[in-house]
């Protein structure tokens, strides 16, 4: 599954064609920041459903991937916080959508494990709480840890700043958040970016996400939030 050396630049609508009914989709972002807004909008427009959405939060009912939830396209959410999107709680509460909550540090570590070939990690977070229910608890050096398992997805939508034509990515501000780690944990990775520049124009010391993880690029659109993040 080697990737194209020169990354294709697709329209958001073309790119989201990789998402099929029933796909699992990772979406970067924390609150308003670092959401691949144009990709999410295209997925809302496509109407593809039955999705498993893996994202730190479900944004707001009318913002970003929160709209996927509100639009009924999601059968399951895996997240750390969904309190700002009233619709997520409601659908879960009404039994119309599954919801798996992870502590945020566990969430990101599970994705990292999924991307980096680890079978799991031992974290102290959640010991003695409902988080440990149904999970293996191991003792190391007299301290208890929960064994947390890897997370992967079929497709990842990430938001970066600059990309060179080989898909090497940099990030800007607090848009970084979960995007780099998600870039490693999906079979098909689409990066929404501010600009695409020539190979060699990003200092190799400054590359955060190596292009070998990226399948395709999409230019950020002029959507209200895309333009402002």
């Amino acid at each position: 599954m080697s990737r194209k050396v020169i990354k294709p630049v697709f329209s958001a609508a073309e790119a989201v064609g990789r998402v099929r009914p029933g796909s699992s989709v990772m979406v970067g972002g924390f609150n308003y920041g670092g959401i691949p807004y144009s990709l999410v909008e295209a997925l809302v427009a496509s109407g593809v459903g039955d999705l498993t959405l893996i994202s730190n939060d479900t944004a707001y009912e009318n913002v970003g991937h929160g709209r996927l939830v509100a639009n009924g396209q999601v059968k399951k959410v895996i997240a750390s916080h969904v309190g700002l999107n009233r619709k997520t709680g409601q659908l879960f509460h009404d039994g119309e959508m599954e919801l798996e909550l992870c502590p945020q540090g566990t969430f990101v570590e599970r994705i990292r494990a999924g991307g980096f070939g680890l079978g799991g990690v031992l974290t102290p977070t959640g010991v003695g709480t409902v988080v440990e229910e149904g999970k293996q608890v191991l003792e190391v050096g007299g301290k208890k840890y929960i064994l947390e398992l890897p997370l992967r997805a079929d497709v990842a939508f990430i938001r970066a700043h600059k990309s060179d034509r080989r898909g090497n990515l940099t990030y800007f501000g607090t848009n970084r958040n979960f995007n780099p780690v998600m870039a490693a944990a999906a079979d098909y990775v689409i990066a929404e970016v501010d600009s695409v520049i020539e190979a060699g124009e990003i200092n190799p010391n400054d590359v955060v996400t190596p292009g070998i993880l990226v399948d395709a690029l999409v230019m950020k659109g002029d959507h209200y939030y895309a333009a402002r993040t």
Partner: protein, 226 residues
């Protein structure tokens, strides 16, 4: 009788007292609500490094012109101070879990005398999710609860045993309310400061937990500045 304090005074009193906990160079995470105010009261000679779990080390106050590319927990707008760093969530939570954050300040629904904390869900209500709170209280070296002493209906929040689902067990080191400051060490709670307008008896009436009383018992720091 307990004093009737207006909400602004409650919040500023708690925030002002929490701000005195920090030393120069401390790395601190502030939760939403009262904790947010703490940054307003840091003494001039103390440089606290504010960290937000979504990836800022060295956050400064809100800018005049909001920029969605620089936000903190809860979507708050922030600026970057000179010498700040922007990092990914995996590094951010690595630092949090690894004990590289000196203190986290959070609100609570309930705390108990052994330092157990419940602040993330109420059964039967909509579940917001724990976000980063569980990692923060598990990893930060010092967990400070900044909250009103009682519920809106006057019920105790500082309990013998928490009744709500826990955020973590045995993690709380300090509780600051508008009436008092309690320290918890090795599973034992001690009243270490009391507000000038509160008596020991009144405090006991709104505090279910069992605690010892420091002797001498100082007046709550910062109240003289009110």
């Amino acid at each position: 009788m307990l004093p009737e304090l207006n909400e602004d005074l409650v919040r500023s009193r708690v925030a002002r007292r929490v701000a005195k906990e920090f030393g120069d160079g401390d790395v601190v995470n502030l939760g939403i609500g009262i904790p947010t105010l703490v940054s307003d009261y840091i003494p001039e000679n103390i440089r606290v490094i504010f960290q937000t779990e979504n990836g800022v080390i060295g956050a400064g106050p809100a800018p005049e012109k909001p920029d969605l590319r620089f936000i903190g927990a809860g979507g708050r707008h922030l600026t970057l101070l000179p010498g700040s760093a922007l990092i990914s969530s995996d590094l951010s939570f690595g630092l949090i879990r690894g004990g590289h954050v000196d203190a986290t300040v959070l609100g609570a629904l309930e705390v108990n005398q052994e330092g157990d904390l419940a602040n993330w869900m109420v059964p039967g209500k909509m579940v917001p999710g724990m976000g980063g709170a569980m990692d923060l209280v598990t990893g930060a070296r010092h967990v400070i609860i900044a909250m009103t002493h009682t519920t809106k209906k006057g019920g105790a929040k500082i309990l013998k045993k928490c009744t709500l689902p826990l955020t973590a067990k045995g993690v709380v080191g300090l509780i600051v309310t508008e009436y008092a400051v309690f320290r918890i060490r090795e599973g034992k709670m001690e009243l270490v400061e009391i507000a000038p307008d509160v008596t020991l008896e009144d405090l006991k009436a709104v505090t279910e937990a069992e605690y010892t009383v420091a002797d001498p018992l100082p007046i709550m720091q910062g109240t003289e500045e009110e």
